[in-house]
């Protein structure tokens, strides 16, 4: 299974990337929403996208809306990586087609629980 981690901070990408790999995913990375769309386009099947909310160029929400317009990715699980303040916008993200959220910072156990909720972990 493949996971795309989208965040403009390379440090955060590497922390989240490590957790994702520990949970058995092959890791892809992108620095903003636009890059993420390109990666998805090039990659073929990606099971999971973990996308930060606040990013330059294209933010996580705009990425979500754009990605959900492409039927090829309808089964891709999109999980919003949020901060406390962004939680207020959760309903908007769900309406736009997000599958789940995870608040950062998070541990491997927390991500595992989230993956269980969306059927990507036993």
């Amino acid at each position: 299974m493949r996971a795309l981690v989208v965040d403009d901070s390379r440090a955060i990408r590497s922390i989240i990337g490590k957790t994702v790999k520990e949970l058995g995913f092959e890791l892809l990375e992108a620095g903003n929403g636009k890059e993420a769309l390109e990666r998805l386009e090039a990659a073929g099947t990606v099971e999971l996208v973990l996308v930060d909310w606040n990013m330059p160029e294209m933010n996580g929400f705009d990425f979500l809306v754009a990605a959900r317009q492409n039927p090829a990715w309808k089964d891709t699980v999109i999980m919003m990586v949020t901060t406390e303040t962004e939680m207020a916008q959760m309903q908007r993200a769900l309406d736009a087609g997000a599958n789940e959220y995870v608040m950062k910072p998070f541990t491997k156990d927390v991500l595992h629980e989230k993956l269980q909720l969306v059927g990507l972990a036993a």
Binding site: E84, M87, A88, M90, Q91, A93, L94, A98, N99, E100, Y101, V102, M103, F106, V110, E113, Q116, L117, A122
Partner: protein, 280 residues
Amino acid sequence: MIGQAEFDFLRALIRERSAIVLEPGKEYLVESRLLPILRGGGFASPVELVARLRREPRGELERRVVEAMTTNETSFFRDHHPFEALRTRFLPDLIAARRPERRLRFWSNACSTGQEAYSLAMLLTEHFPELGAWDVSIFASDLSREMVARTTAGSYGQLEVNRGLPAAFLVKYFERHGTSWQVKAPLRKLVTARELNLVEAWPALPAFDVIFLRNVLIYFDLETKRAILRRARQALRPDGLLLLGSAETTIMVDDGWERLPAGVSVAYRAAAAVRRAGAA
């Protein structure tokens, strides 16, 4: 560092009051959990604290010390699978069996901060709308007064709602107050929380359809586990279900149960022979 005499006194006290077994070697644990009480109460050392506990058995300080020794780790939909098994397998059967009386009684034991009770409340509301017209109640209990108060409040911090709770449930069943999230009133109404010590006398309780007894027997010795399982059986309807934590089992503890496996989860029901004896 806590002395041997103080550790032994506390260990015996905790065991007597809560049945929680603290093995030698857990000095560090006892010490770190006592720290807030030592500081808050102005005790210079564990020696002073223990002296006061000896003078005031069954007092307020003793209660706080015992409560401080409990582990309150929990999460929404803990372990995921038991709740899936309830939703897909056990509840549909149980609801069919109760349709004539339209009543269901649940008990979330050792409920800690209440996530288990509210997970159940959400699951019932979301997936079994028919129950809206039934008499459904969830009794939640814990030894700790503080945990009972937290369960009643049904209010959770960001870290707590980040664990195991689907986003859709968070926005649907919770209200945001600043940085905390409170379970909405209709769900809170389903849950009644009370202090109840599993090793003391239980109050008169209605017969339950499902008892959650999860992640608490692990703290007790074999005899205590056995006694509690036996009482849990008596507190259940004859066809009622018992759910244990993932590291707990009735096997080799109390053989009055039959196992009902469902996927990777197991529920327990009073064994047929025991049910017949009860009916006779």
